[in-house]
Every structure is written in C-alpha cells, then in structure tokens.
Symmetry: C2
Subunit: 274 residues, 2 copies
C-alpha cells in the first residue's frame, strides 16, 4: 500500500506545479498524474459537469491504484471535493483551496488577503469562504486574472509584457492604494495551479511587503503530513512519475515541461479515453 | 423562405465578428447565432469530435429553421465543412476559410501570404491548402498566435501590451526580415474570428505595405452573393439577431458586446442544451 503512487489530476497541465512541489518535498514518493486536456478548461463549465468529470477522472486513477488523491485544480476542488470524499471514503482526498487558505491566514499579519485566480474560481468565492472560516476577521479581496493561464501556457512568464498584464489586474489593489497611502493586502494567494510560473512578475507588480502564498507548495506540505498521519509514506529513495492525458500525448509532454521544471518523456505519457 | 434567418455558429463568441460583418453588409437579413460555449474551445479537440459537435449544433439551428448556414469558426470549418454539406444538401453551407483564402489570393501582389490563427488552425494547414488550390505559386507561412484569443476575450486589444504580444509572434516574419532587406509577406490573413478585434495592433506590428485580410468581412460578402445566387435575400429593411448559447447566457451577453460592437440584450440570448 505504501509503495502505491499518490494520484493527482487537473483539467490540463497546470496541476503539474503541484506535482513539482510534491516531488521536491517527497522525493521518495511515486505519482500518477491525469490531465483531462480533452475537456479543458473546467473553469467555464457548470459545477455539476465539473463534479461529474472529476468523479470520472478519479475512478480511472483509483482503478490504477493510488494511496491518496490530490485534486490539483482550484476549480475542481471548489466544485467536487465533497463528492469525491463521499465517493472514496477509503482514500484521503486533498484539494488545493484549504491548504492555500490556511497558509494565507498564517502568513498575513493584518488579515488583509488578496486572492488571484481564474474567473470561475474568484466568482465561486471558495477561497473567501475557506479563509473566513479560519480567520473570521480577515478581509479578502478576489481578483480574476484570466490572461495568466494562457500566458503561462505560452511561456510568457516574465519581462515587461508579463508584468504589464499583471499590473493591469493588480495595480488597483496594490500600486494605486499604496501611492495614496491607503491599506493594501499583505498577502497574495496564487489561487490557480498555473500561477506559480508567473510568481516573479506578480511579486514585481505587487511590490514590497506582500507575501505570496503558492497553493502548490502548501498543498504538497499538506499531502506530506497526511501521508505521515496515515502511516502511508513510501520507503523508497526515489519515486517515479507517470502521466495520463485525455488528448494529444505529444502536446502534453511539450507543455508539461514548463510546469514540471524538467522534461516529461513522451514514453511516460499515456493517452486514456474517459 | 427568404424571411428565414441566416444561421451561424462558433465554439464561443468569436464568430460574432462574422455576424457583425454580415449585419453591416446585409442590414435587412435576420440572424440566428449559436455559441457552443459549454464545450469551447474546439481548437484543442480531435477533428472527429469537432465534426460531431458541429453536426449537433447545426441540427439545432436547422430545427429552428434557417435558410443558409455559416460556419463562423475556423476550426469547425476545417474539420466539419464537408460533413455538414453532406448532411444538409438542401441548405447552402459557407465556411470562413475559403472566402479568406480567396480574398488573400486577390489581395497579394507577390503571392507571399502569412496566415495567423490558433495553434490548431495553423497546424491543420487548411488555409495553406485553400490558398495553394487557388494560386499554386503562392508561398504561405502560418503563424500560431495562441494569446490573441484570450487577449480579445479580455478586451486587451490595443496599446503597448497588445502590440508587444503581437510583435512576439510576428516580428520574425515582418520586422526582422524587413530590417535585413529580405522579402516579407505582402498579405496577412486573420485566420481566426477573434482576431479582427486586434486588427490595429496587428497592422501596427506588421508595418506598412501589408494588406490585412479579415475572413469575417470576406465571408460576409460570400454569404451575400450566395443568397443572391439562390434568390434568398430578405425583402425586409431591418433584420433581427437572436442568440443561442450552451452555457451562461449572462456571460455570453457580456462578452458578446466586444465582438458584436453593440450590446447583446440578455433577453435575446437563450440557453440551449445539446
């Protein structure tokens, strides 16, 4: 059981940032990643559809045997986490929203927290709810940044263009009030698994004194402690990663490298039909 | 029959630029638009899936009665036009690729033509084939511009950021060879229904002496002459437009305005399930 992989899924390649963080903090673990690229993006679909897709994807991962499930997608976490936990009571299921909210509450001095994400994640207010549950006095401001996902997928993650687009979304909450001497959030949650790629540009635009919270890193730590609590850590020294995708293995391997930080061998990517 | 609407569809709101061009050149016609927003983007899906979706969408439009069908999406045109013509021999079916290719061949002096589009459209080489069929001596260069669709949807269509991103894609074919005194294309086809919104930024970056061919405008003219050939023009002075969408009528109305150039009343947008 302990030598089974940790399963994780996302609508596409964004969740690979969570895999990257998990590999860094648990090098002995193996991972089985499923990117549902044929049906991406989840962000524009109804909650019912997202929950249905998430259950289908999870069924496939469970069929291949996994010891823990990570929902490495903010939209799917918000729409499907309770349904997945009900459907698979025997497997610990961890989403990306709660660890991100917890880390934000710990990192923020003043409790004034900005959350950036896709339009759907921000509109759904999942982070607002998770943060306010932990810290009812917090003030949360959500900022949809719809261009960040395509920027990250296109590899345009730094320099004046990336910073210019970041400024377009963030200036009204950071630069403008700062110049007026007004309060600004002291913590900024990257509420989308694509966004860690843009961390430098975002930091540059948010300015000094703002702590970035990366839900990939905090989710990885949550997975590690959950595996330890359940006595499920692998004894291996180095684990392996395997990839499933629902569309175009070559494109998955090519795009994946940017998010994972190392090449994804196409031989490790298997096309599956859901 | 003549007073029936012209039907058109796209995976989302991009095809509204084709509707806009058709309304401008045929103010007496009525239109029935279907945006399959629940399943967008088509661009990352397999050709079989795109053909199946296109047939489903068309069946719905035909059920509501239309006198002509416009496939207002480059991806769907490339993947499904023959299948649609076979399925509905009684209705003229017009795609966006052929009119765009024809206009490009007419506009280019030297026969050196650049085509920009989504990754899927450029990889599929539908424009290359259509242009070479009409002008076998042409030299066609395809440039995928994946960020243009999200830029247009986000309303970021002019100024230094839009131009900077356009330069990222186009400089190697226009500015760089021009500075070296090498040949550059004299014609640039906007091979995606989203791109007319970015025409100013694209013109600025392509530089002088490059004719932009907008497949929306040329498709509108092809529809007009086809209606005339078939004796199907409406006798009305002003037509009306109706909208069907497969997801979130409010978002469709909000996004649609940018592409259509005038507000889309939410009361004219009907949610349909395919």
């Amino acid at each position: 059981m302990n030598e089974l992989p940790v399963g994780l899924f996302d609508s596409g390649v964004g969740g690979l940032t969570v895999l990257r963080a998990m590999r860094a903090c648990m090098p002995g673990e193996s991972f089985l990643y499923l990117g549902d690229t044929a049906r991406l993006p989840y962000g524009t679909k109804s909650r019912d559809t997202i929950a249905r897709y998430s259950l289908q994807v999870t069924a496939r991962l469970v069929e291949r045997k996994i010891k823990l499930l990570v929902v490495a997608c903010n939209t799917a976490t918000a729409a499907a986490l309770p349904a997945l936990r009900r459907a698979y009571p025997e497997i610990p299921v961890i989403g990306v929203v709660e660890p991100g909210a917890k880390a934000a509450c710990a990192a923020s001095r003043e409790g004034f927290i900005a959350v950036i994400g896709t339009e759907s994640t921000i509109r759904g207010r999942a982070y607002d709810e998770a943060i306010l549950k932990l810290r009812p006095d917090a003030r949360v401001i959500g900022l949809p940044c719809p261009l960040f996902v395509p920027l990250a997928e296109d590899g345009l993650v730094e320099g004046p263009l990336a910073e210019g687009i970041a400024a377009r979304y963030l200036d009204r909450v950071f630069r403008v009030p700062r110049e007026r001497g007004e309060n600004i959030p002291d913590c900024l949650v990257l509420g989308c698994t694509h966004f860690p790629l843009l961390a430098d540009a975002i930091t540059h635009v948010a300015g000094p004194g703002v702590t970035l919270v990366d839900s990939a890193a905090t989710t990885a730590r949550a997975v590690k402690s959950t595996l330890e609590e359940h006595g499920l850590r692998s004894a291996a020294e180095t684990g392996e990663s395997f990839f499933l995708t629902t569309d175009d293995a070559e494109r998955f391997a090519r795009m994946g490298e940017r998010f994972l930080g190392f090449p994804v061998p196409e031989s490790r990517v298997e096309l599956v039909d859901l």
